[in-house]
Every structure is written in C-alpha cells, then in structure tokens.
Amino acid sequence: MAVINAALSGGGSFVNSYMQSGELVIVVVTTDSNGAVNDVSYFNASTGQPSTNGFGMSMNPNADQNQNLGAFLAANPSIAGTKFVNPYTPPPSN
C-alpha cells in the first residue's frame, strides 16, 4: 500500500475502483497545487503496486478539460461511473 499512500499524499484527489481481468483496480486521479488534473494512476488493490492492466497517464494540466477535476471526470465518465468503494478525503490544506 506504500505506493498508493504516496500517490495520495502527493495530491490524490479522486479514488475509485473496479474489477478488471480478475484484479481489483484502484484508480487515483492526482491534481497539482492549482487543482488541475495531471495524472491518472491504476493500482492493484491486493498488492498496492501499480496495475499491469492498461496504462497510467500524465497529461498537460493546462489543457481545458484538465483545469478542474469536475470537468475532467465529466469528460471521462468511465472513471466516475464505476462503483465507488473507497472514497478519499484529501487532508485539510494549511
């Protein structure tokens, strides 16, 4: 779980999960300090290691749809539309 925790402490903003090829995959969407989306990462829930199913993604936080999490999730409903099993609340900012 160390890697997932690192992803979350690095600014994880949205967590979701789904089953794929017999693997429970956890999706973490991370944002930069301005709230713009810059990574989508996938982890194996059992091992805590990055999932080998599919790709992680890094994208330009300056692109229109990435400038806030809501717009990004609306544009990519597959992330938001699956069963939400592990909601993550970001730590309060100081």
Binding site: A6, G56, A63, N76
Partner: protein, 186 residues
C-alpha cells in the same frame, strides 16, 4: 485400413483449412484476441486541437474495456512509425535532460509522433511521492510548442516502467491508426 487412414487424413486437412484463416488473422492483428473497446470517438470526426487528441487518448486510457487493449496497440503503432529527425531529436534531448535532472536512468527513442522510453528511478521518498516527475517536466517544457506531448505509462515495477510520450499537436501521426485499431479492428 487404407480407407480409415484416408478418412483420417481428410479430416485433418479439413480441420487445418478451417483453423488457418483464424490463426493467420490473429498473427496479423495481435490485439484481436483482446476484449472489445467500448469507447467511440465519432463525435470528434476530425481532430482539430491538442485537446481533441488528448481527449481521445484519455477516453481509451480511462475506460476499462479499452485500457487493457491500449498498450499492445500503441506499441504496434510505435514500431511501424518512421522517424522524423527534427521532431524526434528535439524531444529526445528534452527527455534526456529531464531524466538527468531527476536522477533517473532512461533508454529510448522517438519516431514521428510517439516516443518509447524505459525509465528507472532511484528509490527515494521523492521518487515514491512523485514517480512521474520526469513526465511532468517534459510535458511542461514542451507545452505550447510544436513538440507538445502527454504520456502513458506501462508498469514493470514501482521504480521501473515504460513511458510512451505522444504528440498532442495536430496532425499527430499515431492518432488515426490508434482510432482504427481501438474502434474498428475488433
């Protein structure tokens, strides 16, 4: 005995004839055996902006039915791409500089709209917290330039993975083959 032998041979030949097209088809299209990708991007008929390119790739990458197919398709397109010296050399320089400044070892090459790099991070608190710092640096440096890219990561382990940088400048050569393979070759 001869009749039985002949019948058996005929049966074997007919089975082989029935199997051959399927086997040949699978060899020509290695992604064919993977589940269908449910994403359709016909609402972006002709990609006009970098947002359109990013939008299409992100849809494939975030949909579970497509993401499992994506690595093999991207690798296949990368292998078939011819090198554009100006684009490739500039990006290779940027990627190598970003990797050096983050203490990462990289080996890789760019072609015309795709780059593939193997990256090995030095295990540390920083690299665990920000394993994509190299990609972020490359994306930031190229943003708004003719070499603008985003990236996809295929993992081997926490600190060692494969990165594909893809052009988000229209027209990106990889995009139509990608759409064809993801949406129409199933």
């Amino acid at each position: 005995m001869k009749k039985i032998y002949c019948a058996a041979m005929l049966l074997l030949v007919s089975i082989q004839l029935q199997l051959s097209p399927a086997v040949a088809g699978e060899r020509q299209n290695p992604a064919a055996s993977i589940a269908s990708c449910a994403v359709r991007t016909s609402d972006i008929a002709i990609p006009m902006t970098s947002k359109d390119i990013e939008d299409i790739v992100t849809r494939y990458g975030t949909d579970p039915t497509c993401s499992i197919r994506l690595p093999r398709v991207i690798e296949s397109i990368f292998r078939n791409e011819q090198r554009n010296e100006e684009w490739a050399a500039t990006l290779e320089r940027i990627i190598n500089q970003a990797a050096m400044s983050h203490g990462a070892k990289t080996t890789g090459i760019c072609h015309a709209s795709l780059c593939r790099y193997e990256i090995q991070l030095t295990p540390s608190v920083d690299s665990a917290r920000s394993p994509h710092a190299v990609e972020h640096a490359v994306i930031a440096v190229t943003s708004g330039t003719p070499h603008q890219v985003d990236s996809l990561q295929s993992y081997g382990s926490n600190y060692r993975f494969t990165i594909y940088f893809y052009s988000t400048v229209v027209p990106a050569a990889f995009l139509e083959p990608l759409r064809k393979e993801m949406e129409y070759s199933q």
